[in-house]
C-alpha cells in the first residue's frame, strides 16, 4: 500500500494542488457571479496623467536648465513652505547653472535655517545654511508636519518624479488638475450623476489625477503670476506646473544628462565589439559544419 502511494505520489500531489485550485476557482467564479464587484468612483473617474513633454525625455534627453531654474523658483517660493527636499543639497544647484556665489546667497537667504547647537550653551539652535547643507526640513519632525497640515504629512519631494507612476507628467497633471466635483465629467459621465453620494471629506480637495480623487494638499498654484520669472517667461499656472515638474525630475535624477551621454558611448562601443566578436566567431568556425 505504502509503496503504491509512493509510486503514484506525483499524481496524488499534482491532483491535490489542482483540486484545491479548482475549488478556489469555483469560489472566485461564484463570488464574481453572485456578487459582481461594483464600480467605485475612483475606478471610473480617476485619470491617468496628461502627456508632458520635457527636454529630458527620451534616450538623448538633457535638462533645459532655464526651465529647471524656473522650476526651482516655484519650489522655493511655493512648495518649500511645506515640502522638504532632503536628499538635495544647495551645492547641487550649481549643476543647474547657478554660480558658486549665487548658490551661497540662495543658501544664506533660505527661510528655514539648519538645526544646530548653540556653541556656548549646548542648547538646540539654528544657523544659516551653507552650500554644503542639504535643504532643511520645513517641519522639525513628523508630528509637527501633521499638526500643521490637517493630519497629513507633506511628502518629501526629492524623489517624487521617480516615486510615482508617470513621474513628472503626474506632478504636472496633479498641480493643474484641481476641479469642482459638482461639475466634473469624464467620458460623458458626470461624477455627481453616477455617484450621487460622492462627497469630498472636510479638509480634502477634489483632484481626479490623485489615486482616490481626494487629496489633502490644497491647490498650491492658484493664480497666474504667483511666481515672477526673471527670464520673461509668462508665469501661467500651467507653465509653473510644468517648470516645477521639470525641476523635480532634475532633483530626482540629477545625473540623467551624464547617464544618457555615457550610454550612447557604451552602446556604440558594444555594437563595434559585437561586430568584431561575430567576425571572429565566423572565422574561427569557418569550414566547420555545425
Amino acid at each position: 500500500m505504502v509503496s503504491l502511494i509512493l509510486r503514484y505520489l506525483n499524481y496524488i500531489i499534482g491532483a491535490a494542488f489542482a483540486f484545491v485550485l479548482l475549488l478556489a476557482l469555483w469560489g472566485t467564479a461564484s463570488e464574481l457571479i453572485s456578487n459582481p464587484p461594483e464600480e467605485t468612483a475612483e475606478e471610473v473617474f480617476h485619470l491617468e496623467p496628461m502627456a508632458l513633454h520635457l527636454q529630458s525625455d527620451g534616450p538623448f534627453g538633457t535638462y533645459d536648465l532655464r526651465q529647471v531654474q524656473r522650476g526651482f523658483q516655484v519650489y522655493k517660493e511655493v512648495c518649500s513652505a511645506c515640502h522638504s527636499l532632503k536628499q538635495v543639497a544647495f551645492r547641487d544647484l550649481q549643476k543647474i547653472g547657478y554660480s558658486e556665489a549665487q548658490v551661497k546667497a540662495i543658501a544664506a537667504d533660505w527661510q528655514i535655517e539648519q538645526p544646530g547647537v548653540n556653541k556656548d550653551t549646548g542648547e538646540a539652535a539654528t544657523r544659516p545654511n551653507v552650500p554644503a547643507d542639504r535643504f532643511p526640513l520645513p517641519f522639525a519632525n513628523d508630528v509637527a508636519a501633521r499638526a500643521a497640515n490637517n493630519n497629513a504629512i507633506p511628502p518629501d519631494l526629492s524623489l517624487m518624479a521617480k516615486a510615482r507612476e508617470g513621474g513628472p507628467a503626474y506632478i504636472h497633471s496633479l498641480l493643474v488638475g484641481y476641479t469642482d466635483p459638482k461639475t466634473y465629467t469624464h467620458d460623458g459621465k458626470a461624477l455627481m450623476k453616477e455617484f450621487p453620494d460622492f462627497s469630498v471629506p472636510t479638509g480634502l480637495h477634489f483632484n481626479p489625477y490623485f489615486a482616490n480623487l481626494n487629496i489633502a494638499m490644497p491647490p498650491p498654484l492658484t493664480q497666474e503670476g504667483q511666481v515672477q520669472y526673471q527670464d520673461g517667461t509668462r508665469p501661467t499656472i500651467n507653465q509653473m506646473a510644468k517648470d516645477v515638474s521639470a525641476f523635480l525630475m532634475w532633483a530626482a535624477e540629477p545625473n540623467l544628462t551624464k547617464r544618457h551621454a555615457t550610454g550612447v558611448g557604451v552602446v556604440l562601443f558594444l555594437l563595434i565589439f559585437i561586430g568584431l566578436t561575430f567576425g571572429a566567431y565566423r572565422n574561427v568556425w569557418r569550414g566547420i559544419k555545425h
Binding site: 506525483n10 494542488f17 485550485l21 464587484p37 559544419k289 555545425h290
Partner: protein, 434 residues
C-alpha cells in the same frame, strides 16, 4: 576528464611548466573552459546562457562589493545612504543602476538557461546532478535577490520583507515564532535589515561555490546538445576554446548591449516607483508586488483562496515552495529515454504550453488581485502543477518519439542538427544514444 581525445595541457613556457607541476590550476582551467574540454559541435545559441549567467553573477559581485563600501545597513540611514550613492559618490548612480538592473539580467538569463535544460532534456541521466545543483543555485539566487531588494529600505523593500517572512507564519504551531526569529522582531526593522545585508553579501559567494560544483558535475558526462544524442567520438566535438569562447564572446556582447540599454536609458523600467518612497511601517502601498522575476510564484501563492483540510494560506505557501521544489524531482518524473524535445513531438508541444503558462502566471502575479486575474491565475497555477506532476510522467511513458540520428555528426551532415531526420526515419521508439 571526460573524453579520451581531449587535448592535454602542455605548457610551453618554463614558468608555466613550473607552476603546473606544483599547482595544476592552469591545467584545471584549461580542461574546464579551455581547449582541453571537448564540446558537441552542434550547440545552438541557447547554450550561451550558462556563460552569460556566470557573467551576470560576476557583474553582481563586483558592483555589489563596491556598493557595500558606501551602503549603511541601518534602518534610519539605509534609504539616505542609497541616495548618497546615487547623488554624491563618484559614478555611484552607474554602479547602483548596474547592480539593480544586473539582478534582472541574471534572472532573465537563468530563466532561459532553465528552459533550455527543460526543452533539450539536459536534466536526464547522466546529468541529474547538474540539474539538481542548478535548482540549488536558483533557490540561492531567489533568497539573495529578495534580501537585496530589502536593503534600499523603500516601501516595497519593507513590505516585501513583511510579506515574504509572513510565508513562514503559515507553518502550523511554530510558524509565528519562526517569523519573529527570522526578523529579530515583530516587524522588519534594524535587526532584519542588518542580517539581510550580511546574508546578501555572503550568499553570492555560496552561489559561486555551487556553480563550481555545477560545472564540475557537467564535465563528467560533458555538455548535452540539441539532438540529445551523446557524443560518440572525436568527430562529434570541437574544443571549447577557441570555438565556444568565440561564440560566447558574441553572446556576452549582445548580453552587455541589452544590459547597457536598460542601465543607461531605462534604469527604473523594471523597478517599482514605490521603492523610491522611504519605508513607512504604518502605511502599506496600494499595490504590493515583488520584483518581476518572482511574479509567477507570487501568482501561485495568491491563487489559493479556498480552505480545504488545510487553510488557504498554508496551501498557497506550500504550493509556492512546491512549484520550485518539484523541479528537484524532474529527472525522475520524466522517464522518457529521449532527451531533446526535437524528437518528442508531444513533449515539445507541452513545453511551449508551459512557457505560455509561466508567462501568464507572471502577468497575473504583476497585476492587481482582481477577480478576473485571480481566475486566470488559478487556471494557470493548476496547469503548472498538472504539467510537471501528471502530464510529463504520462507523456514520457506513452509518447511515440521520432527516430534519433545515429550521432551528432550524422545530424550535422544532414544539415539539420537537432531537427528531425527524415532519411533515417524508422518507426517506433528509439533507444537513447547511450
Amino acid at each position: 576528464m571526460s573524453f579520451p581525445w581531449a587535448e592535454e595541457y602542455k605548457p610551453k613556457h618554463p614558468a608555466m611548466q613550473w607552476v603546473d607541476q606544483r599547482l595544476p590550476l592552469p591545467r584545471l582551467v584549461y580542461n574546464a573552459i579551455g581547449a582541453g574540454y571537448p564540446v558537441p559541435r552542434n550547440l545552438n545559441y541557447f547554450w550561451n546562457f550558462g556563460v552569460l549567467a556566470g557573467a551576470a553573477l560576476a557583474i553582481q559581485i563586483v558592483t555589489g562589493i563596491v556598493l557595500a563600501m558606501h551602503y549603511a545597513p541601518n534602518a534610519a540611514t539605509a534609504f539616505g545612504s542609497v541616495e548618497h550613492i546615487m547623488r554624491d559618490i563618484n559614478a555611484g548612480w552607474l554602479l547602483r543602476y548596474c547592480h539593480a538592473t544586473g539582478a534582472s539580467m541574471f534572472f532573465i538569463v537563468v530563466y532561459i538557461h532553465i528552459f533550455r535544460g527543460l526543452y533539450y532534456g539536459s536534466y536526464k541521466p547522466p546529468r541529474e546532478m547538474v540539474w539538481l545543483l542548478g535548482v540549488v543555485i536558483f533557490l540561492l539566487m531567489m533568497a539573495t535577490a529578495f534580501m537585496g531588494y530589502v536593503l534600499p529600505w523603500g516601501q516595497m523593500s519593507f513590505w516585501g520583507a513583511q510579506v515574504i517572512t509572513g510565508f513562514f507564519s503559515a507553518i502550523p504551531v511554530v510558524g509565528e515564532n519562526i517569523r519573529i526569529w527570522l526578523l529579530g522582531g515583530y516587524a522588519p526593522d534594524q535587526a532584519a535589515l542588518n542580517r539581510f545585508f550580511s546574508l546578501h553579501y555572503l550568499l553570492p559567494f555560496v552561489i559561486a561555490g555551487v556553480i563550481i560544483l555545477h560545472i564540475w558535475a557537467l564535465h563528467i558526462p560533458g555538455s548535452n546538445n540539441p539532438t540529445g544524442v551523446e557524443v560518440k567520438g572525436e568527430q562529434d566535438t570541437v574544443p571549447f576554446h577557441p570555438y565556444y569562447t568565440a561564440k560566447d564572446g558574441v553572446g556576452v556582447g549582445v548580453f552587455l548591449l541589452v544590459f547597457a540599454l536598460l542601465v543607461f536609458f531605462a534604469p527604473n523600467y523594471l523597478g517599482h516607483p514605490d521603492n523610491y518612497i522611504e519605508a513607512n511601517p504604518l502605511s502599506t502601498p496600494a499595490h504590493i508586488v515583488p520584483e518581476w522575476y518572482f511574479w509567477p510564484f507570487y501568482a501561485i501563492l495568491r491563487s489559493f483562496t479556498a480552505d480545504f483540510i488545510l487553510p488557504a494560506k498554508l496551501w498557497g505557501v506550500l504550493a509556492m515552495f512546491g512549484s520550485i521544489l518539484l523541479l528537484f524531482f524532474l529527472p525522475w518524473l520524466d522517464r522518457s529515454p529521449v532527451r531533446s524535445a526535437n524528437y518528442r513531438p508531444v513533449y515539445r508541444i507541452f513545453s511551449w504550453v508551459l512557457i505560455v503558462d509561466v508567462l501568464l502566471l507572471g502577468y497575473v502575479g504583476g497585476s492587481e488581485a482582481t477577480p478576473a486575474y485571480l481566475l486566470l491565475g488559478q487556471v494557470t497555477a493548476a496547469y503548472y502543477f498538472v504539467h510537471f506532476l501528471i502530464i510529463i510522467p504520462i507523456v514520457s511513458s506513452l509518447e511515440r518519439t521520432r527516430p534519433l540520428p545515429n550521432s551528432i555528426t550524422e545530424a550535422v551532415l544532414q544539415g539539420k542538427s537537432g531537427a528531425r531526420m527524415k532519411e533515417t526515419a524508422v518507426d517506433g521508439h528509439v533507444a537513447p544514444a547511450e
